[in-house]
Symmetry: C2
DNA sequence: CCCGTACTACGATGGCTATCGTACAAGTCG
DNA sequence: CGACTTGTACGATAGCCATCGTAGTACGGG
């Protein structure tokens, strides 16, 4: 076995066809979660939860990541004590072509408008 | 005056730069409202509230239309006793290019998947 | 084995919100 | 005017949810 043994701590994810637009939109309608997704998209690689500097406590952060995972927006895998987060780009693009990119552009624009204060 | 006199019943709308992505996504994260927006997009013209056959009562319908208006997704104008609803396509496209179209495609795909039950 | 790091679980709380029913207002048409 | 259509206002309710704090678990390193 060259790969690490499967951790007993597995996290439930929706399969591709269990992902619902309603849930995805709800997940992204929260500013904190939208920010998480934006940073994940910029990173292009999986990031641990602690890599994010969010304006909420750790328990709230856990909550947001769970919402994103359960809606199918991100994938979470344990790696030691860290939990690595990655965008489910392939699944989202297959289900809703163009949506994720449009959302990311929109988020960037909104952030730019906000900064212009 | 060839046009109708301005009704005293005017409805508050956000200006274009008051429209926030968070609010738009939140407005669209409700299945009823997403359905309203889809039908509006298909219609290409303004529709009165009563043209929609929604699985909720009239008062709830009023509520949903107000959420859509206050988030900047639709525009509402009184025309006699009817209230005409139109998508704010120009504003949304200017603010978040490609987002509305991607959302409409996504909604259509989700509906198709749901029908495949 | 003990400690530190990373994250979770649980319970509480306050606020939002989708829903409804009923009563009402505004406008149109006979 | 009076009836009807269309939509609103208001109050109630129940459920969801973002947030927190505290206590706890899992894992890796010394």
């Amino acid at each position: 076995m060259t790969t690490a043994p499967p951790s007993p701590r597995v996290l439930p994810h929706p399969t591709r066809d269990e992902i619902r637009l309603d849930s995805v939109l709800h997940a992204l309608s929260d500013p904190v979660r939208l920010r998480i997704v934006s940073e994940l998209a910029d990173a292009e690689a999986a990031l641990s939860c602690s890599r994010f500097d969010l304006p909420v406590t750790k328990s709230t952060t856990t909550h947001h990541f769970r919402v994103l995972r359960e809606s199918g927006v991100i994938q979470q895998v344990y790696e030691g004590t860290a939990k690595m987060n990655g965008l489910r780009r392939e699944d989202l693009d297959a289900l809703f072509p163009g949506l994720l990119d449009a959302l990311l552009v929109a988020a960037r624009r909104q952030a730019a408008r906000d900064a212009r204060v």
